[in-house]
Symmetry: C2
Subunit: 189 residues, 2 copies
Amino acid sequence: MALRHAVLAALLDAELSGYQLAKSFGMGVANFWHALPQQLYAELARLEKDGLVAGREVVQDSRPNKRLFTVTGAGLAELERFTAETAKPSFMRDDLVVKVHSADHVDTAPLIAQLTERAGFARAKAELFTRLLEAMRGSRTEEEFLRRGERVGPYLTCLAGLAYEQVNQQWCERTAAVLRERQAARADR
Amino acid sequence: MALRHAVLAALLDAELSGYQLAKSFGMGVANFWHALPQQLYAELARLEKDGLVAGREVVQDSRPNKRLFTVTGAGLAELERFTAETAKPSFMRDDLVVKVHSADHVDTAPLIAQLTERAGFARAKAELFTRLLEAMRGSRTEEEFLRRGERVGPYLTCLAGLAYEQVNQQWCERTAAVLRERQAARADR
DNA sequence: GGCTTCATGTAAGTGGTTACATGATTGG
DNA sequence: CCAATCATGTAACCACTTACATGAAGCC
C-alpha cells in the first residue's frame, strides 16, 4: 500500500484530476513514483471511499468534464502516520542489469543497443529534472533555497531522481563501451 | 517473468541450491535482483518442470540433503532470447522518497531517523560491493580486467550496485542534513 | 480523414509479499 | 538451553501489468 501515499503526496501541491496524475506518474515529472492510469483511477476511487481525498466535478465545455481531487484532513493524518512508520528497504530490480550479468554467455550486440537506448532516456530525464530544479528554486541558489524555501520536499525528491538518472546514464554508457571493446577484440582473433 | 532470468543468470557461475540462491537474492550479494526464499523455491520448481534447469540431489550427513541446480542448454537458449528482447524501462519506486516528498507537511523527526538508517545500510552495501569487486579482479586493475577478464558480467552488475548504493547514501545523508537544519531553524523562531 | 489529447474506467492475469509450517545441527 | 543456520516448502493476499472499451474535440 504505497501507491496510496504517493498519490496523497502528489496532491499536496495541487488539486489534480486522475488524468493529470496519470501524466505525472506515467513519465515526465514522475520523479518519485511510477504508476499506470488504471491504477490511479482505481486508487483515487478507494481514497475517496475512505475519505482521504475529496473530489469535485468540474464542468467543461469542448472538453469532457473532470473530477479534481484534494487531500482531506484524514488524508493528511494518514500521510503523517505513514511517514513515521519505519521504512522497508528498497531494492534494485532491473531487467537490463540481469541481462548484463549474463553478458559473457550471450550475443552482446542487442545488449549494447539496449544500453545505448537506456543511456539516452536517462540523459533526457536528467535534463528534465535539471530544468525542474531551476524552476523550483528560481533566482535563489540551491543552498539558499534548501535552507529557507517553504516547500523543499519536491525539490529533494527531484534531486534524488536526478542523481539516479545520472548514475544510470554513466553506467549504461560505460558498460556499453566495455562490451563494444570486447566484441572488437574477439573479432580480431 | 523476470525472476526466471535472474535465477538463470545467477546459476551461470555456480551450481546452487534454493537455499544458497535465497541468501544471494535476499541480501548480501544480491547486487542485481531481490527475491524471497519462497519465490525462489517456486521458481526453481517451474524452471525444472520447463527443462531450463536441472537439479541433482546431494546427500549430506549432519545437514539436511539439498538439491543443486544447473542451467540446461534450453535454459541458456532462453536467456539468450530474453537478452535480445527489447528491455522495458525501469522505474524508481521507493517509500522513503514518497515520504520526503511530503516532508513540509509532516513531522520530520522520524523521517530523519529513517534517512540516517538507510544511509548506513547503503554504506555497508557499498563497502561489500567494493570488496567483491577487488576479489573478482584480483591483482589486475579494473581497466585491465574489463578488457581481458573472461567473466565480466558479474563485475559490471556489481559496479551498478556500487554506484546505486553510493548515490543512495549521499542523497540520504544530504536530505537528512537539510531537514535537520530546517528543524533547528524552526525551533529558533 | 486520421492521429493525438482529454477523460474515465473494467477485467483478466502475473508477480511479489506476508504469514505459516517443519525439523535437524552447530555454536555460544 | 537457546538462538542461529541449513533446507524446503504451502496458502492467502495484495500490487502491478496487459488488454480492452468508450467518446468528443482539436490539429495537420
